[in-house]
Structures are given as structure tokens and as C-alpha cells.
């Protein structure tokens, strides 16, 4: 029997009780789980599960630049390689990097660059490899979040972590953290990245329609939601070391 799945979006993006299709409130985030230091050979690495998104990030560097003509004599460069696995989306994705991958690699590099001290490492490159294993809306934001975590884990001097999330408008309502179906069927989609050094916005893309007054409201909501994600980032980084200390104390307690 042939399985036919039509490429159709539901007419309404809200349930009758006012909740979203996956049962969330308007300003509720999807469940987020992060881990650091999971890849052995990388200098720093991190993993995130954000709703149905599953993303790995690995950081190498500073190291020599290949091809050499890309290196700059007065500062280091940051290269990001965002790639999606062939099985990460519903239709098989061709493995060759396309227009979308190159664009997302560029915007992630541009929004992480302000927090790094690249002028301390002239002639070298920092390289971030991001592999999307499973995608369901907002992968560029999740990738930025996990890439900054991997950079911090590698011990590279940074002014602050970077947190990103997508906000937008669906069925005339402003919502936080769009899922895949809301991203496609909604009216507006606005990925935003915040650097916590002076609370500056490092990335702002927009696709769709929205009033200027609505934009102000949604930016405030986005910042509040980003603070929750930032807390998870900080706790993940610290837990790696705190858990070792706790294990030792447990062993001590067991012996006594």
C-alpha cells in the first residue's frame, strides 16, 4: 500500500481551548535539554534537544587556516559549517550544502563574532561544526545557542554567551518559540539572538507581516523567554564540574 502524505497545513493553528497545536501556551517554550563535552576529539562540544530538534556542535581552534588565502594577517577568522543530516527533515535532504546552509552558516558566524576576541589570534581560524540530526523549526536559533555553549566549553575567551530563539505571529496572535508547522503556516517569523554583554541584539531576521507596535511587544517577550534559555545554558556549563565534586562527596560519605 502506498503511503501518501499531503503537504498541507491545518486551517487553525490554535486548539479550541486557546492552546497551541502541541498544547503550549502562547509564551511557553518547548522542553529544552542541553549537554556539554560529549565529543571526545573536539576542543569543545555541546548537544541540544529543543522540542524535536536534535543538534550537535563541535569547536576546534585556534588552528591553521586551510585554504591559507582565507587567513587574515591582523585577526583570526570564525568559520561555521551548518549541515543538516539527510534524514533530519521529512523529504530526504540532499547532502550537498545548498544556498540555505551557506546562509545560515554565515549568519551564525556573524552573530557569534562580536563576543569573541579574534584580534588576539591573527592568522588562525576557529571552526564550529554544527550537525542537525533532527529538525522541527528554529534550527538556526538552536544552532546559535548550542554553538555558543560549545565555544564556552572549549575555553575560548568570550564576552558572554549567546542565546537565540524564534518569535512570531500565528493566526493574528503573537507567540514565542515557533515550531516547524507554525513557522511554515504562520504569518510572521522573527529569529532573534541576544548577547548578554550589554544586552545587545546580535541577530534579527524577519519574514512576514507585523505592525511596528507588535514588533516592540514581541521583542520584550523574546527577551524574557531568552533569559529562561540562558539560565539553562549557564546551569549546563556549571553542572559538568559540580557533578564531579558531588560524586566525590558521595563516595566520601559512603566510606564513612
Amino acid at each position: 500500500m502506498v503511503l501518501l502524505i499531503k503537504d498541507e497545513y491545518p486551517e487553525k493553528l490554535f486548539q479550541e481551548n486557546g492552546k497551541r497545536l502541541d498544547g503550549r501556551d502562547k509564551k511557553e517554550l518547548r522542553p529544552i535539554k542541553m549537554e556539554v563535552d560529549i565529543l571526545k576529539n573536539a576542543d569543545g562540544s555541546a548537544y541540544i534537544e529543543w522540542g524535536n530538534n536534535k543538534i550537535f556542535a563541535a569547536v576546534f581552534g585556534p588552528r591553521e587556516v586551510h585554504p591559507h588565502h582565507l587567513s587574515k594577517p591582523d585577526k583570526g577568522i570564525l568559520r561555521v559549517f551548518y549541515r543538516m543530516a539527510t534524514y533530519s527533515v521529512f523529504d530526504r535532504k540532499r547532502p550537498a550544502p545548498g544556498r540555505r546552509e551557506k546562509e545560515i552558516s554565515m549568519i551564525i558566524a556573524d552573530c557569534l563574532e562580536p563576543v569573541l576576541f579574534l584580534e588576539l589570534y591573527p592568522g588562525t581560524a576557529f571552526e564550529i561544526f554544527i550537525e542537525v540530526i533532527d529538525a522541527d523549526g528554529g534550527t538556526r536559533c538552536a544552532s546559535t545557542t548550542v554553538a555558543s555553549l560549545a565555544l564556552a566549553d572549549a575555553g575560548i575567551p568570550m564576552k558572554s554567551l549567546v542565546t537565540a530563539l524564534a518569535v512570531g505571529k500565528i493566526d493574528g496572535e503573537l507567540v514565542v518559540d515557533l515550531s516547524g508547522i507554525e513557522d511554515k503556516a504562520g504569518e510572521g517569523d522573527l529569529p532573534i539572538a541576544i548577547t548578554w554583554f550589554n544586552d545587545e541584539i546580535s541577530l534579527l531576521q524577519f519574514d512576514g507581516e507585523m505592525d511596528l507596535s507588535e514588533l516592540d511587544t514581541i521583542l520584550k517577550d523574546a527577551k524574557e523567554a531568552a533569559k529562561k534559555i540562558y539560565e539553562i545554558q549557564v546551569n549546563t556549563l556549571k553542572n559538568k564540574y559540580i557533578s564531579i565534586q558531588n560524586n566525590i562527596e558521595k563516595e566520601k560519605g559512603g566510606e564513612d
Partner: protein, 257 residues
Amino acid sequence: MEEEEQVSQENNEIEDEEASRELVVPGEVLTEEVQDFIPGRGTIFNKDKTKIISLHIGLKNINKNYINVIPLRGIYTPQPGDKIIAIVVDKNPVKYKCDINAKDFAQLKPRNTVKRMKSRIGKRNYDREELNTEKFDIGDILIVKVLSADRLNKPELTTIGKYLGKKNGGIVISIDPPKIPRLIGRNGSMIKMLKNLTKCNIFVTQNGRVWIKGDNIAYERLLIEAIYKIEREAHTTGLTDRMQLFIENEKKNRGIE
């Protein structure tokens, strides 16, 4: 035995602050009292100079009125005068290319490898054909001193000096460079303990490489495990005592005495 030990200048930094072991992450505000404190190592002012902010994941340390962050992960930056372990990765008639675990490869020129020829002093008819520089091969492990190192140029090395030159035998292992001060301990207490208990020769260098040579392979294996354990638990308290207990227990379990 020769005293092969490089006591770090930084080795007291982690040990001195037994009381404050606060973990901080990049971007975390260390203090808002800017009048009382000065940003030290691993810290920075924010734009309006109202806060002092951490740059690394590490331990907060207050020394007089300086606020420092001792990093837990990081890369080695060569400084002139450091004694480090280098691996020859390439050679040509004018220089050797060495891997020193930093962002650049270092170079070792033949004029910096001149042998000290005691036998030649006082001799009139020595063989002029004889080479007076040491020859190395790709893959050799050298103990070298950094002559010059800065942000822009490749570091330059030398093998002229006490204890410097090619190492034969032994094992080289790598750990995170920021954890080297913990491996040495306060005034070398940790490294002395390891040497006494495992009867091995250890040479610890600033770029995160440790050279080990013992009489017995069982002791060497135990020592390598102990060093990796120190690296993993570098931020915890009471490490030296715990390591002593660990090695004594393991010795009994493995039946080596």
C-alpha cells in the same frame, strides 16, 4: 636523580583560594562594586564600566583588590622562557617545524641547537668536518626553551641549556594546559608525592605535556591513570590527600609494591 621539575609561577593560584571556589561562566557578572575592585586576569569591564565580567569558565579568585578568573579549559600561549615538550613534525635544511600544542607551529633553527663540546676545548687539531649542531628526525621528542613568542610571529625555540635536548624513552601524555598548576601542586607537593609513590621520573611542562619514565611498566600505568584523574578533578578540594589514598589503594589492588 636529576631534579627535573619546573615549578610554575602560577602554581599557587588555585591552591591559595581554598575558601572561594565559585564557578563562573563567560559573561557572568563578578561584581558591581567597581570602586573597590580592579579587573585582573580573565576579566573585563562592561561598556559603561559599571560591572566586571568573566571571560572564561573557571574559578573566581579575589587577590587583594584584583578580581581574577582561573580558567578550567583553555589553550597554551607560549611565553619566552617556558620549558616545554615539542614534537618535530617537519624538517628542511634551514629549520625544524615543531608542534608545541599552541596555535602556531614553532621553529627550531640549527644555530639554536649547537652542541656544548667540552672535549674540543683545549684541542688544537680537532676535526673541522665534524658537525657542531645536533641532528633531529621527524617524530623526535625534544625538551626545548622558548626564545621568543608573540601574537604575530611564530615562536622560536632553543635546545641550548640545562636539561634541554632530545629525550630517549619514556611516555608523553597530554592534559589540558590550565590544569598543569594543579598537577604540580603548592610548592610542588603533588608532583613530589607522585614521584615518591610511583618511583617514576616526571617532567611537567607548561604546554600540557607530561613526560614519564619509570623502571616498572605497572607503575607507569598507575601514574598515567592518576594524572588523568587529577585533570578530571582539578577544581575540587582536598585533591592531594585523595590522590595519595587512591594510589596506595590501587597499589594494593594491583599487587605492586
